[in-house]
Symmetry: C2
Subunit: 337 residues, 2 copies
């Protein structure tokens, strides 16, 4: 595959999967010790990557789960954030300013802080109790964080007696890294064609439903806007029908991410509408590329990771096609803010 190091990719994703026993031990021990709730506190795009786990827990677990903006929570505080809280704080760099500021508050409060980082020798790498470290970079971190947050969610369900097949799912997860590579390989022949669609408009609406919505939001925000300076309008597939649909007309690009979770009928509704009113509807479905060797349940749970891994292929072609390297920034790490 174009600009792709398979061994490195497999090592990183296997690293995420191998955190399963550590995550399970931490979550299990905390809940057994009387933890009262769990906060997902990510800043920026990595918070979107926690969202499928939040959805899963809100709908399947009685354990109180919050997500919030560290940048806000550090100003407002929360009555629910106490020494009995479990806090999951992801940050690839381990240095995200807003999260580091929140870390100090969390330490005052005495919460159990599980940081998920790419680098140990950083404020969040040092500040976690524990810090779970899995090296990754921008091209590999989405899948890693989706897997890690899924493991957190599954461990909460297990600790609460709300899941029957934790062991089977985690055992099957060991096959996920290879399945992701297989999905990339299946997508690769089409990656350039899809990249041409992205390169062909200076504005794209992005939509998705269920656990695909956070990935649509992530790819639009953190790849196309941040790394390619292309304007996007991410909108949830349900909200799409309450306002943003009025922007659709011939020539307007709408990119729809489809996965295999229970919310996919909302994506189908978008297809049925949009194909009538724009010639630029692009649908990308994980089901077209993900190997069927993966169980339907895991294909559904991992749909956002699968889409992220396909989009990495698209981006690899896009940066060359547009002569705009993914690492180029106007402001990030170039000016103070």
């Amino acid at each position: 595959m174009f600009n792709f190091d398979e061994a490195r990719f497999l090592k990183i994703q296997a690293g995420a999967v191998h955190l399963a026993p550590r995550i399970d031990q931490e979550i299990g021990a905390a809940i057994a010790a009387g933890a009262s709730n769990l906060f997902f506190l990510g800043t920026g795009g990595v918070a979107y990557l926690m969202e499928p786990a939040v959805q899963l827990l809100h709908r399947r677990s009685g354990f109180p789960v919050y997500k919030d903006y560290p940048a806000e929570l550090v100003l407002t505080g929360s009555a629910n954030l106490t020494a009995k809280s479990i806090v999951v704080m992801p940050s690839l760099s381990g240095t995200t300013k807003e999260s580091v500021a929140m870390l100090a508050k969390l330490q005052e409060v005495g919460a159990r802080i599980i940081t998920l980082v790419g680098h140990a020798d950083t404020p969040l790498g040092q500040g976690g109790t524990p810090a779970l470290v899995n090296f990754a970079e921008d091209d590999t971190s989405s899948e890693s964080f989706y897997i890690q947050s899924l493991l957190v969610a599954l461990s909460v369900l297990k600790a609460r007696g709300e899941i029957d097949n934790y062991d089977a799912l985690v055992a099957e997860l060991a096959t996920a890294p290879a399945a992701l590579v297989a999905a990339k390989k299946a997508f690769e022949p089409k990656a350039e064609e899809f990249a041409r669609i992205i390169a062909g408009s200076d504005y794209h609406m992005f939509t998705g439903a269920g656990n695909m919505w956070p990935e649509a939001l992530y790819y639009a925000t953190c790849i196309l806007e941040e790394m390619q300076w292309i304007r996007t309008r991410p909108v949830h597939a349900s909200d799409f029908f309450h306002g943003p649909l009025e922007l659709i007309e011939p020539g307007v690009s709408l990119i729809l991410f489809r996965g295999e979770d229970a919310c996919d009928p909302l994506a189908e509704r978008v297809v049925q509408f949009a194909r009538q009113y724009t010639d630029k509807l692009t649908v990308i479905s994980t089901a077209d590329y993900c190997p069927k060797s993966l169980s339907p349940e895991l294909r559904a749970l991992l749909s956002p990771a699968i889409m992220a891994t396909l989009m990495e292929r698209l981006s690899a072609h896009l940066e060359v096609m547009r002569d705009h390297p993914l690492v180029t920034r106007r402001y990030y790490k170039r000016v103070a803010y």
Copy 2:
């Protein structure tokens, strides 16, 4: 004021305030009877209008509060949605398709369903137990729903013993409708100038923090996109610094909504950054228009309602300036979807 009926406005907002005892009775009785959680289930923009109440409860109350998309929940179900749940379901029309579908599921589950509607003789007006009816239209519904959802939140806090000054706040709320009119009057001389800024670009980034973020999202999505077909990119003021800021350059319009809640420092951070890199930063602050007769606490809690009421003035000028009536639609109520 231009195209404005003050008596009608005051009647509608007073109607929202007057729901206080009904809301308090329902929430208080439900919690006293052992309700285990509360769901805010709005579809489209009206869900954004519930968000300040969700924020308040997540941070100040131990009572479990969920918000979700009815269109998703009807497909996924939720372990937390039971006969012991209180469900708050807002819909101005009372006919919102996704919410009506959810209503049937809620009735099966046996949840206590409080609908907040503008029209009694509708599916959601008939299906609430109770339905709280306060007539409003697009130009007056935002403030009404912000007030009603604030009342829900305050009543939860009261029922849980988590607030000391419920009575004082609700008593002061009686002055809110007149304060909103005063804010409109203070803004009116500038409304046309701000409308010219909106009319002057075909794309606007919109941002805000805290309880101002949902209003930025609402105005961008449900007014500018839906009613004016102007492209927007709504993004939370914290997320702005994690991707979307890279789109900023001279000529790019960024509209910042500022209120008076604890999260306003995040808006200030946007100002400090953006004023250096675009000549089209527009800041609208509720503090510049809201009468100081309102207490600081209520000014903070009502900031989104105050901004909504200012933006109604802007929109009144905008639709004339652009010769694009706010009621014009390409698709809504014109084609099936």
